[in-house]
Every structure is written in C-alpha cells, then in structure tokens.
Amino acid sequence: MNGEALDFPILSMLVFMPVAGAVIITLLSKRRPEYMKLVAAVSSVATGAMSIWLTAEFNGHESGFQFVSKHSWIEQWGISWHLGVDGISLFLILLTGVLFPLAILGIDPHNDDPAKNKPYLAWLLLLEAGVMGSFMSLDLFLFFVFFEIVLVPMYFLIGGWGYEGRVQAATKFFLYTMIGSAFMLVSIMATVFIASRNGVGHVTFDLVEIAEHAEFAASTGRWLFFGFAVAFAVKVPIFPLHTWLPDAHTQAPTAGSVVLAGVMLKLGTYGLLRFGLYLFPEASLWSRHLWLSLAVIGIIYGAIAATMQKDLKRLVAYSSVAHLGFIVLGIFAVTSQSITGAVMQMVNHGVSTGALFLLVGMIYERRHTRQIADLKGIQSVAPIFAAAFMIVMLSSIGVPGLNGFVGEYLILIGSFMSARWYVVVASTGVILAALYLLWAYQRVFHGEPDEANKTFAELKLKEAAVLLPFIAVIVFAGVYPKPILERIEPAVDALITHVEDKTGYESPQPAAVATISEEGE
C-alpha cells in the first residue's frame, strides 16, 4: 500500500506516459492521422487507468505523502525529483487522469486539416504531463518547472486551435501567468536560502523539509508568501487578477477550455494550499482577511458579470471566477470542513464546469454561434441534450443531491465558524449562481425554436459517451461523497495541525455539527 512497498514508480509514470505519447506522435508520419489518435488514446487512457489504480491503492487513513519517489536531480542546487501524493492532491490527479482522455478522445479540434491534429494531440499530452507533475511535486524547483511549462502547450492550444481572438487571448494568458511566476521564482529562491540559514541547515528545495524545519521571521515569511501568492492568485484567478480568464476560456478550443477550467485553475488553489498555507502558515493567517475579502468580491463580481454575458462560453468562464471564489474562501477560513470542502469543490468545479464547456462546445459545433440571443427552444428539438445540460448546470449551481452541493455546503458551514460575515455575503453568491445559470438555460432551451434552431441535432452516441462519466461523477459524488471525503480529510487535518503547531492558531472545532464522514452515510 505504502510508497516504500511499491516498486513501481507510478507517480513518475503518470508524468512520463503522456510525454512518451507526445514524443511518439511527433515522430509519426503526418499522413497517418489515425495512428496519432491511437497513440494519444493509448497513452492518455493508460495514464487515466494508472490514476484510477492510484486512487484505489491510496491509503485513506494516512495523512502523509504516499507513493513517494525521490531522486537527486541537480545536486549542486539541492534539487531533487521528488513526487508524492496525499489526500489533497489525490483527487486532482484522478481528475486530471480522467479528464484528459475524455478531452482527447471526445472532442475533435475544429479544423479541416487532419495533419494539424499532430501538434494538437502532442500539446494536449504534454499539458497533461505538466499538470500531473505540478500536482505531485514536493520540490519547489520541480513544482516551478511544471507550473511554468504548462503555459507552453496551453499557449499553443489556444493560439493554434482557438476562435477568432485567439492569438491575443493566448498571449494575454501567457504573459499574465508568467508575471505571477516571476515573483514566485524569486520567492522560491529566497525561501530556500533563508530556510537554509534558519532551521533547515543546508540548501534544499525540498518542500517537506522546508515546511517542517524552517523558521521564518514574521516579516520575512510574509514577503515570501506574497511572492508565491501573486503567482497563484493570477492562476486561480482571484479578483482583480482575473481578466485573462474570460478571454482565454472563450477563445480556447473546447478541449482547451475543458482542461483549463477543469484542472489548470486548480493549480492556483492547490498552490495556495500546498505552498501557501503549508509553507507559510503564519503569513497565510496574517493575510487571510485580504484573501477572504477578495474571495467574496470574486464570488459576487463573477456572478454579476456572468449574469450580464451575451456569450454562453463567457458566461461559464465568469461563473468559474465565482466558483473559484468559494474555494479560496474555504481555504482561508482554515477549518477542517472548509478546507475539505474546498478540495472537494476543486474536483467538483473541474467536473461540472468541464462538462459545461463540453456542452457549449457541442452547441457551437451545431450552430456555429455561442451567442445566447441566437439560441432558442432547443429543449423541444433535443430533449436529451437539454436534460444533460440541466443536470450539469444544476451541479454547478449546487443543488442538493449533486456534487456541487457537498463542496459548497462544506465550505460555507466550515467557514461560518471562523469567517462568519464573509459567509453571509458569499451565500448570496449561491443564489446568484442559480439566477444566471437558470436564466441562461431558460433563454437557450425554453420557448419555441426558430428556423435556425429547428434543426438542432440531438445528442449523438459519441457525445453521450463522453458526457456520461461526467454525469456519473456528478451524481455519485452528490449522493455518496463519503469515499472521497474520507480520503481528503486526514490530509486536511494534518495540514491544520501543522498550521496550529507553527502558529498557535486554534481552528474552531464544530461542537454541534456532526463530522462529515458520518453525514455522508
């Protein structure tokens, strides 16, 4: 079960499998597009299978890092290839592993030239490797490498296969994220050197070693945390650094949007947990009111902005800003429930928003428009399609019985104990989410279809096959979240204990609220 007992370096394989696929695709002849698709399918499905296996083998009662693989990489700088999984990253890895094969197999890039598929598939696979690596890295250098390298495939995916404003959107995305990383890079180095003089004793980029042994003076830790936080705040994105997101999401090809919303935004929230709260507990707590305020502003602002969008894809993009606000709220409320809920909500948002982008992509394929005003009465011509859209949308709203509810509920109830008034404001965001999504649904699906929408095709078998896993997860996690929550909880509790040990902060204990795992039953 544990990392030591396992000879097979599964985490490294999760990174190298997609890379191998990408390399093979690059070497294949341009004239055989079917082989490319096959290789992409094999490597992404194999990666997905490994991530499922990893989840099954994961020891849910243990709070530390499992399946650890550690090899020295650049000895001169104290850098090692150090990967590990805990309850916080486990489901993000699973999400990545499952989302990519669906995006690769289920969505065709909208171009007529099959030769152009070659780089498309290769970039997607490289993106998968980068995202996987980011979620598993336990070395600051390694994390930075992965965190930064994902920009390149995403840049080319948006720029090469996106819609009309793609070049500008891709450039904006690249530069925004890179400016955040610029601060993080300096912060990483400063962290390492300062830590080596304060507690660690030697120069190492090892996250665990630094987090456990380093003693930062309060002001130092705050500056260092700030450097990290800027990078993650751009990536999340936290208001007011979100302006790259609507453009990137709208202009990206469907697979790009699915991946971007599904897993890449989580790099930011995951980073805030792993490299914010874990590495700089004092600074995180010190600045939490800033984060909580920005999170709540993001929730309300994202919801209002989403309500006003005329473009369906842009609407979903702004809804991401609101949803990610909830996750940030949960993280910086720093209670066991709120963080468990935040981790759960990262996965939920990936599933439901990924599926929403998928559905919007299907609408675009049929109608070549994303304008809400151009769509009308689709429900009467494509009822199954409308039903699928309905389920996904309800999950995004957070209706009880679907996955979105579990995460949002945990965040709100957990945060209520430590950040009461923020929760009061944030709760209105739940209502606003219902407003903008239902209103959009009403405009697109209800009514009598006009001429252009009369021929709207029903859900095809292939499309249904892609959507089915999403809907299955949405329902399963909504009805029976226990297996997920009980794997997340030990790691979250360990994180909170770590924060408490380092800072003397006392996380409010829920006296009357039953613990989560019991609730699920």
């Binding site: 690249f174 530069l175 610029a182 400063a190």
Partner: protein, 504 residues
Amino acid sequence: MLAQDDFFLAPGIEWFHLGPVIALVSGALVLLVVGALTPRWPRGLYAYVTALTAAVAGGLAVFNWNDITDDGVSTLVGGALAFDTFAQMITITVCAATLLVALVTDDELRRAGKDGPEVYALFLIAATGAVVMGSANDLILLFLGLETLSLALYVLAASDRERPTSQEAGIKYFVLGGFASAFFLYGIALIYGGTQSTNIGEIIGSFQTSVLLDGKDTLVLAGIALLIVGLGFKVAAVPFHMWTPDVYQGAPTNVTAFMASVGKAGAFAAMLRVLVIALPFHRDDWRPAIWVLAVLSLVIGSVLAVVQTDVKRMLAYSSISHAGFILVGVEAAGHNAGELAPGDGMPSVLTYLLLYSVLTVGSFAVVSLVARNNGGDTSLDAFKGLAQRRPTIALALTVFLLAQAGVPLTSGFIAKWGVIQAAVEEESYAIAIIAMVAAVVAAFLYLRIMVSTWLETGAESTEREAVPFSTGVAVFSAAAFTLLIGVWPGWLLDAAESVTTYAK
C-alpha cells in the same frame, strides 16, 4: 618595468597550455596564407577548416581543464595569462560559438557566391581576441585581446560589400568602438597610476600592502569609471547600447550571431577579470554602477525589443536585455569579490555566457535561413507561415525562443535561474525581481516571433526555405544542446563551480 631591471629574464612559455590560442592563430594563418596562395578551395573547405580549428582549440581547452583540476591554477608567460578554469570555460564558449557560426557562414557565403578565406580568418582572429580577454592576467594584454576582437569585428560587420547597411554598420561600430577602446585604455592608465602596475596579481597586491594615499584612490576610482564605460560599451549595456540595434541589424546575420555570442563572452570575461578579480577592494564602489547598468539594460532592452518589427533588431534588443541578466550575475559576484567564498555570481555568469552563446547562434542561424529565402528580409512578416513550410526549423526556432524567454526544461531557464539565484543568495531581491519582470516583458517579444511562425500563414507564393546541410547541423546541435542542458544541467554547473578558484 623591464627597463628598470638589471638583467632581463625571458619568461618561460608553457606551449601546451597556450594550445587553444596557438590553434586559433594557426588556423587563421593557414586560411590567410594558404588560402591566398592557392586557387579557390573546394566547396565548404574554408568553413570546415575553421570549424575544425575551433573544435581543436576547444578540445585543447578541455585538456587544460583537466590539468588545472589535477595541478591547480597558475599563471603563464611570466604572469601575463591566467591559467584557470575561468579562462578555459570562456575558451570553450568562444570555440563552440565559432564552430557553429562557421557552419552557418558556409552556406551564407557560398550561396551568395562570395566564398573565400578572409571572413573565416577574421572569425578565428576575433575568437583569439576573445580567448585572450578571458585569460588575460594583465590589463595591457586584456586590451590587446579587446582590440584583436574589436578590429576583426569592425571588418566583419562591414564584410557584406554589396549591402550599404553592412558598410554603415561597420563604420558605426568602428567609430563608437574606437571611442570605447580609448576610454578603456585611459582607464587602464589611471589604474596603473594608482597601483603602479597593470598586472592583475600586482594590482591586488598593491591594495593589500600599500597604505592608501588620497590621490591614489581618486586615480583608481576614475580608472574604474572609465573601465566600466569601455566594458559597458563592449557588452552593450544601457546606456552604452546605442550601436547595438543598428550594427546587429546591418551586419550580415552570421556576423551578428558571432558578435552576440563571442563578442559578449569576451567582453563579459574581461569585465569579470577587471572588476571582480583585479579590483575586489573597490567592489563597493563599482557594484552600484553595475546595478544601475543591469537594471537599465533589463528594462530598456526588454521594452524596446517589444516594439520592433524586424526580427534581427528584436534579437539585438533582446541581447541587451540578456546583457542585463548577465550583469545581475556580475552584481551578485560583486558582493563577495575577492573573498574565499565568493558565491555563485561568477559561475552563473560564465554558465549564462555559454548557454546564451549557443542559443543566440541558433536563433540567428534560423533567421539567416529565413532571410535568404526572402531576399534578405528579416521582418516579422518573413517568418509568417514558417511552421507550414519547415516545421522542423520552426520547432528549433521555438526551442531557442522559449529558452531565451527562460521557460523551464531549456538551457535558458538554467541560465536565468543561475544568475537570479546568485542575486537572491546575496539578498539583492530588488534586482532579481526587476530582472524577472523584464523577462516577462521580453517574453512578449519571443511570443510575437512564435505567433508569426506558427499561427499566421505566409503568402502562398513563398517558397520553402532551403536548409543546407551545415546550417542544419548547426541548428540541430544547438537545439539539442539547449534541451539537453535544460533537462540535465548538473555536469555543467558542477564544472562551472570551479571557476571561482582563479589564477591571479
């Protein structure tokens, strides 16, 4: 000094240890003399002789390196040349760049029907100058190296006799470069006035032993100021950068590649020798100046690069920004200059020079391929649709550009990481953050070139770029090196660490 001695002892000459310089000079002489006396050599032979010479010189430097690891550092020819890994690393950098440039030049000249030995001989002579700059342990010798390099570069810049811009570049470079050399020489004279010597070991000694009199200190400080002006010009740091865009754009592309790699390597080696090694006692005086030069170069280089429309000019400005990065490393080296644990500044600078030299030659090689196809057009438009016509070349260009932007898993990332780490280690946080933000601004420029290459379609009529063999080899090996170091940099960093044990 000699005249005062009663009897003159000829210095012992360690011939084998001088191998790289001798090889480069012999190669140049062979090309000039034999090339002048024989009819035109068969296709490509001039270039291959040049490449071979550079390879041999580089190989000899590796042998020297092993000797140094075994026997420690020393000085050669009566203390005139330093025999340390610092010198060998610069030699290897210069030779690698010369080798690659020679391969690119081959196709460039033969296609234009201008094949001949002169350009290659000048390359080797310039390389000799750069190597001497890197190994000089005497300011006069350093000046000789500088002039050898510069004079060859003036001629090279003007070597395309058919293009007036090339002539203009040559003249401009010559006039401004002459000024800079004069500054540099006057700086040496003042240092001599203050310390009674031009030998770096004796300069250091004079600070250690003599009591500083007021007037002497002024002389040294004025000398440092003039030296920084001269060196700042050679490394193309803002505000001494004015010549760079015009000369880079006007000179033939292969010469531009040579200037950006060998020229920079030599100049920065000289800067380290003069400031960090010879004048550590004044490190608190010259370090702020370097700080200002670094910040100006970073910011102005990056910002001006973005607004250009000509790729050669863009790369010229980006080379200014890279100079800023290297200066960040020099600044970091300035914190502990002359101490037993001098920090990571010097290794990071030398690593940056090696990696950047390969990168920049690779980039300019692709530019020269594209330009040749378009009748010398190096604007962004000429790059449109390159990915459709030549996907492999476009991929190589992308690797170079991403590396210049400092994206991980490329050598550029390792280079940038090195200098920033050196700066952060010395707690120069401000300059580190300015450098990284400037890198983001510069990234926009590389993205613009990539957009043209990948995302825009060229005119239907554009023919596929011809990729001749030797340029292909140069581009491929540069790209392979870029990726290899990106993934597996340990051995190079290991080697670079030893440069802090320098001879003096």
